[in-house]
């Protein structure tokens, strides 16, 4: 089986949320798996000079409109969170910890966390809320809370983010297919074509 796609995303990114709902289906149609890699865009932005969308003049207002319009276009439900953006450390830590135990469960948790934030307006930056969501997908709530404070788990999120930067990742979603980088939920059709044709 060919190598999995690398799917980089930040839990505060609505475009990452859209991609999360579609990337596994796209990959599966071509017999490919996907490795989900949550990262911290705040750390990335220190390297790139980037900034959260709501802080950007003109672009911030456009993005707010584009996000709800794109949700309807993609057919993915969204309820714009009342707190945006948020720190994505707690959910990212939980996902790596869960993935190391059970990759499929880690992915289920990631999608449940994204839905909790972008559909149910739950503040997943809170370790308590992240642990609640983890419990809902079958993980042990107390074990998750302990993991969120484990230095090894904390370092993992930081090292995955650093590795992403060293691969050229500067935004969310960012997918790498056999070394080829694709940025944005609006590149999913190109990813599908790349998987079909092997490049063009």
């Amino acid at each position: 089986m060919a190598a999995p796609l690398d799917f980089y995303f930040d839990f505060s990114s609505p475009y990452g949320y859209f991609a999360a709902h579609r990337i596994d289906d796209i990959a599966a149609r071509h017999g490919r798996d996907v490795t989900w890699r949550p990262i911290l865009l705040g750390v990335v932005f220190k390297v790139t000079g980037g900034a959260p969308l709501p802080t950007l003049p003109l672009k911030g207002a456009y993005a707010a409109r584009d996000v709800t319009r794109s949700a309807r276009y993609f057919g993915v439900p969204i309820h714009p969170p009342s707190k945006f953006p948020i720190s994505s450390q707690a959910p990212s830590r939980a996902v790596y910890w869960a993935q190391d135990r059970d990759p499929a469960l880690g992915k289920r948790l990631a999608l449940a966390l994204y839905d909790a934030y972008f559909q149910q307006d739950r503040d997943i930056s809170s370790p308590q809320v992240t642990a609640d969501v983890a419990a809902e997908v079958g993980l042990d709530r107390e074990a998750v809370l302990t993991a969120l404070n484990d230095p090894v788990v904390k370092d993992r999120v930081r090292s995955e983010t650093d590795a992403a930067i060293s691969r050229g990742v500067f935004g969310s979603p960012f997918v790498i297919v056999d070394g080829e980088p694709f940025w944005g939920a609006d590149r999913l059709e190109q990813i599908e074509k790349w998987l079909t044709t092997g490049g063009w």
Copy 2:
């Protein structure tokens, strides 16, 4: 006939170049015309804090790759210019001046200028080169050179750019369809759907 689409672009923008090759066909399929409005992204960036792609860490390298890959994806030829970005004042002035005389000719000139820059590596920031291209589409070379220094024509580019900013335009290409804003060559499919359905 319904109102024309407003197509904002900067002559230094490769994504604007892609859209320039497709937007009229998309609009025509729905019985719509397009008003082409060259703007100066350098002026826009003073408001938004934006910067030219090649200056952006990580994103600049990605964009260079994405531009040639997108050209092949869209089936639009491109020869990445040796000088990039360039000042787009001369070609923008020429287009508004030509449009006021003959809208169809103005549009032909705009496309010829884009092709001169992105296919033939000609530096259209030079008034001489812009005048050469104008002559090739049938305009009077000396009249164009005079127009490029006409204060009224200069002010026109500036006032169109200011008007664009006041409508929320922050990048290129940027298309407004019946008040609805779309940013990016990757929103052309959404524009097509918007024209088909009247929104969603």
